[in-house]
Amino acid sequence: MDQLKTVETTAVAEEAAQYIVVRLGEEQYGIDIRYVDNIVRMQHITRVPKVAPYIKGVINLRGEVIPVMSVRLKMDLPEDVEAKSTRIIILKLEQHGTIGIIVDEVKEVVTLTTDCIEKMAYDGNENKSHFISGIGKDGEELISLLDLNSVLLEK
């Protein structure tokens, strides 16, 4: 039975996957929904000394201490400006454990089929292209799909 289920999910993943569309500055990014554990409002972040600048600190998520990183700083974008729409997306990944990332806004959830996703041509000039696994087309809108593993990978 279990085997059957995983076969099913991978089959779905091949054909279509759901992404959470978030805004960072002016651009829209997609995050694979399978890794998203939770979305919380911006809250006080406790600074941790002597860590990489893009790690903003830690927050308390229902009794657990969770590190929070700034994707903006990681991608060499200007520093986050805290606004009403700012959210922390809590991601759960095998190799990194639980970690939060700060986004300017959470917009919607879209379903993208494989033929709507174009693999990213590598552009050496742009630093942030390291973190993009592909471009999704949702109607007229273009969504850059974040490659979470390289986003979270320590430099």
């Binding site: 941790v48 000394p49 308390n60 657990e64 201490v65 990194h96």
Partner: protein, 690 residues
């Protein structure tokens, strides 16, 4: 009938018995004549055998059975204990340990029969046994036999056979098979009667087809029977073989059986034939549950996960205390609720309730910690044997002296501490102690001594491994380090003794010129260090060349909850473990002196280096430099340091949370905690700051 539900108990108890056997056999070697020790060994071996048998682990049972035979002879005085015998017994214990480990992993004992061991055991038996004793035993056996027969009825005769059963028997006879009645009587002392009965059932089933079972198979499974149960079976094998199969199960008092002859006239009546056909399915319910059980077991085996979780045995009194505290907690909560709903909740009553709640939670915490604590005995008890073996292997005479085995530590720590301690002991035995000739030259006693002392020191547990051997030859260490390229000769010049000893913990470093299979692979000490640090402990070495060395391991008593001092540095809150704080001082900036480039203060004759936390934490202090400073004096072992903070908040009980694997580079932060207002505060590791 599924024995898996007993697996946890079985494993726990087996381990306990094995540990016990280990210690007792060590004792036996020292006092071969001590009757108490032998009896204790005998009891442990016997229980082990019984349990293995109950659970159906035949190989384990066989091995313990043969060991038990040897112990019997020792007890009777007909077999003398010698070093060889002890060696073999220890090997047997290792084999048993392997079985238990296999069982824990897969719920199966594995396929190793350990034939050579069993043969060696039997060889000892033959040597030791004189003919006279053999006869004596036979006599005993004979005497026992009739006794057993007396006590047992032939209750299968009381089973009334229905026509269908009769038919089955009749047809079986036509096919040249025989029908037998069996009555199995289980020993009165047996605890898991159902399990025994099930094993007998299984054993018989291999040889024969069971057609009637009294009481029913279901009742047997539910243990709804006395000491006896009866079976009617058909088989093409002889009665003796079936009885033997049943008797092989341990804790069975007796198996009585006979051939059943029934009136064959039944089968002459043709109209009964359909009944016979109907009778066949009827036999199935009896056997069906039995067929199911092995199938289920097989399925369990396939999942392949360790079957049993780690357990802690808890004194029932400790649980009672916990239960009481929880009920107090509920009362305290209720009083708070009522206090807050009445007008004027700001009054003294409210504070009183909060104080009450505080004392309850503190007690609760203490009790829960106590439940998690286990004595380190379970780990150190295997060491005397290890030293004995090392002594033989290295051909050095040595003796291990242990104190403080009853010292308690958190279960998780106790589980992890075994390997590092073993490394240190091996190290002392191999590198520390000199050979007999050298010892004689130096005027030391021929037998080297290794000490293992454990004791509690404040919030820490200290474990010391000490030997009266050669001590650490710092020159040799220095040479070796240069040779290995760990340090340059120039660096070596400027190093003091302590630094050099610290090199021993460097990865890939081993001073023994000979690589033995005991130690000397150079993977020892750095592993010890990292292991102990992962338990938030520390290692220290004191050594005097020619006189011996002492390895000191310091471990925190508890891991999860600590008393801490909350401080403010640059507007941020930090916690410092109260255990490491010595005093808090108010210091005038004018008292600061400079030694080299470091700030120090003089306090009651001690020169204490200052650590400005604002600098360490990359933050601006919010106090002006002219104001008096608040200095928290912390200590690590003998060393002191003064941490400069902006403000004190107060003492608080905090729950330690890990920062997660994503943030692990920050050495001065040992964790985080969540404050009453939901904010996260970081915990400073005073040890890393010194």
């Amino acid at each position: 009938m599924d024995v898996n539900q007993y697996l946890g108990i079985f494993l726990d108890e087996s381990r306990e018995h094995l540990e016990n056997l280990n210690t007792q056999i060590m004792n036996l070697e020292q006092n071969p004549e001590d009757a108490d020790t032998i009896n204790e060994i005998f009891r442990a071996a016997h229980s082990l055998k019984g349990m293995a048998g109950t659970m159906g682990y035949k190989r384990m049972q066989n091995l313990t059975h043969d060991m038990e035979n040897v112990f019997t002879e020792i007890r009777n005085g007909s077999l003398k204990v010698n070093s060889n015998l002890i060696d073999i017994l220890f090997q047997c214990l290792d084999a048993l340990d392997e079985y238990t480990n296999n069982i824990q992993e897969t719920s199966d004992e594995g396929t190793n029969d350990n034939k050579p061991l069993i043969e060696q055991l039997n060889a000892f038996l033959k040597e030791g046994k004189s003919d006279a004793q053999m006869e004596e035993q036979k006599k005993e056996a004979k005497e026992e036999a009739p006794k057993a027969a007396e006590g047992n009825g032939r209750s299968w005769e009381q089973i009334t056979l229905g026509d269908p059963e009769k038919h089955v028997i009749a047809t079986a006879k036509e096919q040249g098979k025989q029908a037998y009645g069996l009555t199995i009587r289980i020993q009165e002392t047996c605890i898991l009667k159902a399990a025994r009965a099930f094993l007998v059932y299984k054993a018989v089933e291999e040889k024969a087809e069971i057609i009637v079972c009294n009481p029913s198979a279901q009742d047997i499974e539910d243990e709804k029977f006395d000491l006896e149960f009866s079976l009617i079976v058909i088989s093409d094998q002889s009665l003796d073989e079936i009885i033997k199969a049943a008797e092989n199960v341990s804790e069975i008092a007796s198996v009585v059986g006979d051939v059943i002859n029934i009136d064959t006239s039944v089968k002459d009546e043709p109209e009964e034939k359909p009944a016979a056909v109907a009778g066949k399915p009827e036999t199935k319910p009896a056997t069906a549950p039995q067929n199911n059980a092995p199938a289920k077991q097989q399925a369990d085996k396939k999942t392949g996960k360790p079957v049993v979780n780690r357990t802690v045995r808890v004194d029932i009194e400790k649980l009672d205390v916990l239960m009481n505290l929880v009920s107090e907690l509920i009362i305290a909560k209720n009083s708070l609720v009522s206090a807050s709903s009445t007008e004027g909740a700001t009054g003294a009553g409210f504070n009183e309730q909060i104080e009450y709640l505080e004392s309850v939670t503190t007690n609760l915490h203490e009790s829960v910690m106590k439940v998690r604590m286990v004595p380190i005995e379970s780990v150190v008890s295997k060491f005397p044997r290890m030293i004995r073996e090392l002594s033989k292997k290295l051909d050095k005479k040595m003796e291990l002296y242990m104190t403080g085995e009853e010292t308690e530590l958190d279960r998780t720590v106790v589980d992890e501490i075994g390997d590092p301690l073993m490394h240190l002991l091996r190290n002392s035995a191999d590198h520390g102690l000199e050979s007999a000739e050298v010892r004689a030259q130096r005027g030391k006693p021929e037998v080297g001594s290794i000490f293992l002392d454990a004791y509690q020191d404040g919030n820490n547990v200290v474990i010391e491994v000490r030997d009266d051997g050669n001590g650490i030859d710092t020159e040799a260490v220095k040479q070796k380090a240069i040779e290995r390229g760990v340090i340059t000769p120039e660096q070596a010049e400027s190093m003091n003794e302590k630094d050099i000893i610290g090199l021993l913990f460097h990865a890939g470093f081993s001073t023994s010129t000979k690589v033995t299979d005991v130690s000397g692979r150079g993977v020892g000490l750095d592993v010890v260090k990292s292991k102990i640090e992962s338990l938030s402990g520390e290692v220290e070495v004191k050594s005097k060349l020619g006189e011996g060395s002492t390895w000191i391991i310091r471990l925190p008593l508890t891991l999860a909850i600590i008393q801490a001092l909350m401080v403010i540095v640059g507007g941020e809150k930090y916690a410092i473990s109260l255990g490491s704080i010595q005093t808090i001082e108010d210091i005038n900036p004018a008292e600061i002196k400079l030694v080299g480039n470091n700030e120090v203060i003089k306090l009651r004759g001690n020169v204490i280096p200052l650590v400005r936390l604002s600098k360490e934490l990359d933050i601006e202090s919010q106090k002006s430099p002219e104001e008096n400073m608040v200095v928290v004096i912390v200590k690590k072992g003998e060393k002191l340091a003064g941490l400069v903070v902006d403000e004190l908040i107060g003492q608080q009980e905090i729950v330690i949370k890990s920062l997660g694997k994503y943030i692990n580079k920050c050495k001065i932060i040992s964790g985080a905690t969540i404050l009453g207002d939901g904010e996260v505060a970081l915990i400073l590791d005073a040890n890393a700051l010194i």
